[in-house]
């Protein structure tokens, strides 16, 4: 049997506000939990990938002696990309068991890694001088164009947050669990018109880790394997102004299309969907760029309850970056929820998840990674 599977998956013991842990320790806390989940220790890991931190720092901290290292860092979807690279490495025989970690002290900012963009970069020269202040003023800029071209209403955009809160209400680990209405969203503080506070992601602390190995070996681990059926990745732009189109992500289309082709699935095969939601327009772009909705129809699709609890395409069932948690590089938490749903252990469990698709974004529409998971080995 060929193929690769997830055999360990865990988040940090705590999520939310964790001022007593450095960013490096958040990586380690998640990794130790993933080791316990898989019934292994650092000695069993021979491949390592991370983003945010240099892999050398985290690997040494954890006591790893990897024969394969991947430091691909393309933003919050880096972990989807790591999964894809791990599949290739395992299939090529470069290593047998890969650990992927994420840790981010996004809220408390304890032992924070990373560096400010250079004033000589494209961002420094062609965006910073015009008053951008992080993702809420960059990731958001395309949406008015989408609203005019496709008739998306302010109410439909707000509904994305309403629906995700419905999922979060079922999740004890979610940061925000009280149900909200469209009016609540539209009456929340304006952050960057047309985005209100409740249409923007949380800022929290946390981490997560995955353990990946061959499907052959996966049978020997305590948890039911979650098989990787297909993956895709792409990059598009370091600055929002240079998206090919303001109403569609080329990176989403490339990564999502490749992952679905490799998995050999059609849209109707997907039982559960995760679309990285740093802001409320992301699920709208994702549903269309993945092909679940025709262009311009995702706002109505969400409005009608299709992605909500009881809907035919359960989406962002942990509550998403809008309500569950968002440390900065949220992709790891989207992957964790996909794994929980396929295992059948999610707090807001969807019935009979055989196929789950997880789409990540990196930077501000800068890059994408996509993973299709299956409960069974790929046929």
């Amino acid at each position: 049997m060929t193929g690769v599977a997830i055999v360990g998956a865990a988040e940090t013991t705590e999520l939310g506000v964790i001022p007593h842990m450095s960013e490096l320790q958040l990586h380690a806390d998640a990794a130790l939990n993933a080791f316990a989940d898989a019934g292994i220790t650092a000695r069993d890991i021979d491949g390592f990938a991370t983003a945010g931190f240099r892999p050398t720092e985290v690997a040494q901290y954890l006591g790893l002696k990897p024969r394969w290292v991947d430091g691909t860092s393309v933003g919050g979807c880096s972990f989807m990309v790591h999964v894809r690279h791990a599949v290739a490495a395992i299939n090529a025989g470069h290593c047998s068991t890969v650990l992927i970690t994420h840790g981010e002290s996004g809220k408390s900012r304890v032992g924070k890694a990373g560096m400010a963009p250079s004033p000589a970069s494209f961002g420094g020269q062609f965006e910073a001088p015009f008053g951008v202040m992080g993702p809420p003023t960059m990731f958001t800029v395309p949406v008015l164009r989408y609203m005019k071209d496709y008739g998306l209403t302010h109410e439909q955009l707000a509904m994305v947050a309403v629906v995700q809160r419905q999922w979060a209400a079922r999740n004890p680990r979610a940061s925000f669990r009280d149900l909200i209405t469209v009016d609540d969203v539209l009456n929340s503080r304006m952050i960057a018109y047309p985005f209100h506070l409740l249409e923007c992601c949380l800022v929290t602390d946390g981490g997560g880790a995955l353990i990946v190995t061959s499907a052959e070996r996966a049978k020997d681990f305590p948890q039911p394997p979650v098989y990787i059926w297909g993956t895709g990745e792409s990059s598009e732009t370091p600055i929002i102004s240079q998206m090919e189109s303001l109403t569609s992500s080329r990176a989403f289309r490339q990564a999502g299309g490749d992952a679905m082709r490799e998995a050999g699935i059609r849209h109707a095969d997907v039982d559960h969907l995760m679309i990285y939601d740093a802001f409320a327009h992301l699920p709208i772009y994702g549903l269309e760029d993945l092909g679940f909705c025709a262009k311009g129809e995702a706002g109505a699709f969400i409005w009608e309850g299709n992605t909500a609890p009881g809907g035919r395409l359960p989406t962002n069932t942990n509550g998403g970056g809008l309500s569950y948690m968002h440390s900065g590089m949220y992709g790891m938490y989207a992957l964790q929820e996909s794994v929980r749903q396929v295992r059948g252990i999610a707090p807001a469990q969807v019935d009979n998840v055989e196929v789950a698709l997880c789409l990540g974004v990196g930077g501000m529409f800068g890059a994408s990674g996509c993973v299709v998971f299956g409960r069974q080995p790929r046929g």
Binding site: F122, Q125, G131, V141, L144, R145, K148, A192, I240
Partner: protein, 136 residues
């Protein structure tokens, strides 16, 4: 009010910032495939040709999209708009819209714009845009 974050030109972008100092908006065009592009670089991102040249753009464009930032920024008085301008020659660039109320009512998508040059320091002049034909 604090100084805006200012760009640090590189050898590849120097002509653009020299242009704004001289009151010109400069773009680049590929001889091989005629592609007009921005931000600056000494080759064509469409066909990889190094046979490209710098030219003076019209300075005209339209308002393609924007947000109005409401959070405090040390160098701005909020709320202020961060805009994407579709230049007449094709490329898109980020800028600010001046001589115009920073409101959804006044900032109408697809409105015609024209460049104005805002000197920040002896080295750096920023290209900003205003409604074409002056304030509404």
């Amino acid at each position: 009010m604090a100084q805006r974050p200012l760009p640090r030109p590189t050898p590849e972008t120097d002509h653009f910032w020299a242009g704004t100092r001289d009151g010109e908006l400069r773009l680049q065009k590929c001889h091989a495939c005629s592609h007009v592009y921005f931000p600056p670089r000494p080759f064509c991102p469409e066909c990889s040709s190094r046979d490209v040249h710098v030219f003076r753009a019209s300075g005209r464009g339209t308002l393609e999209s924007y947000v109005i930032n409401h959070r405090p920024h040390p160098a701005w008085t909020a709320p202020y708009a961060i805009a994407l301008v579709k230049l007449a020659e094709g490329p898109r660039m980020m800028s600010n819209i001046v001589d115009c109320p920073q409101t959804p009512e006044a900032l109408v998508l697809d409105m015609p714009l024209e460049v104005v040059f805002d000197k920040q320091t002896d080295e750096i002049t920023l290209p900003l845009f205003r409604p074409a034909g002056g304030a509404p």
